[in-house]
């Protein structure tokens, strides 16, 4: 058993876009559907983030399926050029839990160019938020264009930050072509089931 034997879903995107919030939305739903889930936090103060996950998933996941991976102040390196320490953590998960179905890997918040190494993530969500500016999809960063699924989060904030969801939708359709994107609100769960459908269809049923 090793990292190749388990489905790996990466969550990338800028700091504060809602990656952690999305993981917190996805894990209970995955568990409810009967999947055994592991979670890795690459965020900047990783042990702190891992502790937050351990606490919020206390009734859902064994503690040893939540791990923080320190990336030496190089978050993009950890998920792209050299994912070896993430893969080592996943190897430990699969050794302890051979039945593991899926690992969610949250990257450290990064820039719009950060993409996941395909050996680390079979499926890669890029999470942006409407509060970071409605022009983000239009800028065509590699994260936005190459992700398997683009997640546009915090739709509830759109009216407060003068972001027009129609503009974002039109831009996202244009830059993504055939590739999917979803609108989400991690505060009330809007769009999370749709996100999960994509993940299930593309990686868990595959």
């Amino acid at each position: 058993m090793g990292y190749r034997d388990v489905a790996k879903v990466g969550l990338g995107g800028p700091v504060g876009s809602g990656k952690t919030a999305m993981v917190k939305c996805l894990v209970p739903r995955l568990v409810e559907k009967g999947y055994e889930v592991g979670v890795i936090a690459n965020d900047i103060m990783t042990q702190e983030d891992a502790d937050v996950f351990r606490e919020s998933f206390a009734d859902l996941l064994p503690e040893d399926l939540v791990e923080g991976v320190e990336t030496g102040a190089c978050p993009h390196t950890g998920i792209r050029e050299d994912p070896s320490m993430n893969l080592a953590a996943i190897d430990e998960f699969t050794e302890r839990h051979p039945e593991l179905d899926v690992v969610l890997v949250e990257s450290g918040g990064d820039n719009l160019a950060a993409t996941f190494n395909p050996e680390l993530a079979d499926y890669f969500l890029f999470v942006i938020s409407v509060a970071e500016g409605e022009d983000i999809p239009r800028k065509r960063g590699p994260g936005v264009t190459q992700a398997d699924l683009l997640v546009v989060n915090k739709t509830d904030l759109a009216p407060h930050v003068d972001a027009d969801l129609d503009v974002i939708e039109a831009d996202a359709s244009e830059v993504r072509g055939e590739d999917p994107f979803v609108f989400t609100n991690c505060k009330n769960g809007d769009g999370v089931d749709e996100t999960l459908d994509h993940i299930e269809r593309e990686v868990l049923f595959a």
Partner: protein, 257 residues
């Protein structure tokens, strides 16, 4: 001592921070020194790295590497495992041990996948294959020490410390023992300097100055320890070890060690 072009390129590859074995996640306690405001300028950084070279990299890792290289050259698995075990015993802070064994395992795994064709007749590859008894990759096929050691690491039969793996794979690619030690020490220094630059506020010129100034130390330390016996292996860096151990309990951490 120099070396053919293939060995030179192998040494460059092994000492390049591009090698994906997680080197960028290790600070060997440097993060703790910076957090405790013990490193304020380039001189202090240089002094600290020189101390690491003299007290840890030289007497510990270089000795392990050199003896692993020797064991690989003589195809002596028993000696190799003894070196690995000894290095494990003398590496005090848990995080140092973990960084080192994770990187060692990843280097083995990586080369197994990328360089496996090496054994199929590439002259720059394996220097001394042996014949597998049973088990192995099929009866009668040559199995080199590198694969045997990789299997032992994967099966948790030996810790698989990075300098030990480094010694084996460098030897198998024709890198001489001293050059392997130099390549490893150089990579250690550039790794630590990169960590320092990301942790503190050092200019690129200041960092390169430290690197240039450390060159004689790298060389002296490697030359001094390249012929040491395995039992000489010991580290004499109580403060670094204390920093490494305090790092384990630090609240703010960017690095694995």
């Amino acid at each position: 001592m120099t070396t053919n072009a293939d060995a030179f390129l192998a040494a460059l590859r092994l000492s390049d921070s591009f090698l994906p074995v997680g080197g960028y996640t290790a600070s060997y306690g440097l993060e703790q020194y910076v957090n405790e405001d013990r490193i304020e300028d380039g001189d202090a950084l240089q002094e600290l790295i020189a101390a690491y070279l003299r007290r840890v990299v030289g007497p510990c890792e270089t000795v392990a590497l050199a003896n692993a290289h020797e064991a690989s050259a003589t195809d002596d698995l028993e000696a190799l495992l003894a070196v690995d075990e000894r290095l494990h015993a003398v590496t005090m802070p848990r995080e140092f041990r973990e960084s080192s064994t994770k990187a060692g395992a990843k280097l083995c795994e990586l080369l197994e996948q990328t360089d496996s064709r090496r054994t199929a007749g590439d002259p720059t590859g394996n220097s001394g294959g042996k014949v597998a008894g049973d088990g192995g990759a099929g009866c009668g096929e040559p199995v080199d020490l590198e694969s045997t050691f990789a299997d032992a690491i994967a099966a948790d039969e030996t810790p698989g410390h990075y300098p030990v793996v480094f010694g084996v794979v460098a030897q198998a690619r024709g890198v001489s023992r001293l050059e392997a030690c130099l390549a490893h020490a150089h990579a250690f220094v550039t790794g630590l300097l990169g960590a320092a630059q990301r942790l503190g506020r050092f200019g690129h010129t200041a960092i390169q100055t430290v690197l240039a100034d450390l060159r004689p130390t790298i060389r002296t330390v490697c030359e001094r320890h390249v012929d040491d016996e395995p039992r000489a292996m010991a580290s004499f860096a109580p403060l670094a070890e204390i920093m490494g151990m305090r790092h384990e309990r630090a609240e703010r951490r960017l690095f694995m060690s």
